[in-house]
């Protein structure tokens, strides 16, 4: 607790309030009131599925992939990492007019359906988008049954 109040007092505390506010407004409204990208949690996630796979797209620009942690445990997909402010932004003699981009560590958890196969996962990071493809178990794939 003492770290929270004294360790990083200043911007970090206000950033935490910002995040809390984003989180609360997301819970309260249900639907976003505008298309502004920085509403809601970072990173934004889209989820879809095909007959063979579950496709997850994580909109996480400007990340160092070596610090990005993607794991599956007990049917939960966890995406965690940290994003730092560019070094130039911290120079002296500089004035900041907008600080909307997310900075800090993040963690998002997605519950996978029971037919997801944790042994068949591919993840690629391109242009700031992390695409995760998780295969489905053979037995759950749709198939037509021939009538004898």
């Amino acid at each position: 607790m003492s770290d929270f109040f004294f360790g990083n007092f200043g911007t970090d505390l206000f950033r935490e309030f910002d995040r809390l506010q984003h989180h609360m407004s997301a819970l309260a409204s249900g639907l976003p009131t505008s298309l502004r990208a920085n509403q809601g949690q970072f990173p934004a996630i889209n989820i879809g599925s095909t007959d063979d796979s579950i496709e997850i797209v994580v909109f996480a620009p400007g990340l160092d992939t070596s610090k990005l942690d993607v794991s599956i445990d007990k049917g939960l997909l966890t995406i965690a990492g940290e994003r730092k402010r560019p070094e130039d932004a911290n120079r002296d003699e500089s004035r900041s007019y907008a600080r909307e981009r997310f900075v800090g560590s993040f963690r998002r958890v997605v519950e996978l359906p029971s037919n997801a196969n944790p042994d068949d996962v591919q993840a690629t990071y391109r242009d700031g988008c992390l695409s995760i493809r998780i295969g489905k178990h053979e037995s759950s794939k749709p198939r037509s049954i021939t009538i004898q």
Partner: protein, 133 residues
Amino acid sequence: MTNETEVVRREAAAPAQREAAARRAAIVPAVDIVEDRNGVTVWADLPGVPKEKLEVKVQDVYLSIEAEAVVPTPAGLSVTHAEVRAPRYARSFSISSDLDTSKIDASLQDGVLALRIPRREAALPRRIEVKAG
């Protein structure tokens, strides 16, 4: 944010852009804007945007960023949860005349656009020597 702000955020800046935005829904990307003695740097989050789908334009006093995200989707995909609905980004800013829009340097890496707009020579801060005697 004071009256001295060099780059002022204007969502509905130029009328042409307002019309364009109305035609197709677009996301307003999150930006960081930092000014130092030599100019202004703008960072914008544009996840999923490749270089060829990004357009940075300067018209009169407006700087506009328009981009389209390209996310590979397999055939037969049905979306079950979408936090990003529009694959387009659009935002425009008005630019102070102190800045030299002919020397903008833009780079796009991992979905983050960095725009460096230098100050005009005449607008650079100078130190004036005071001679004694």
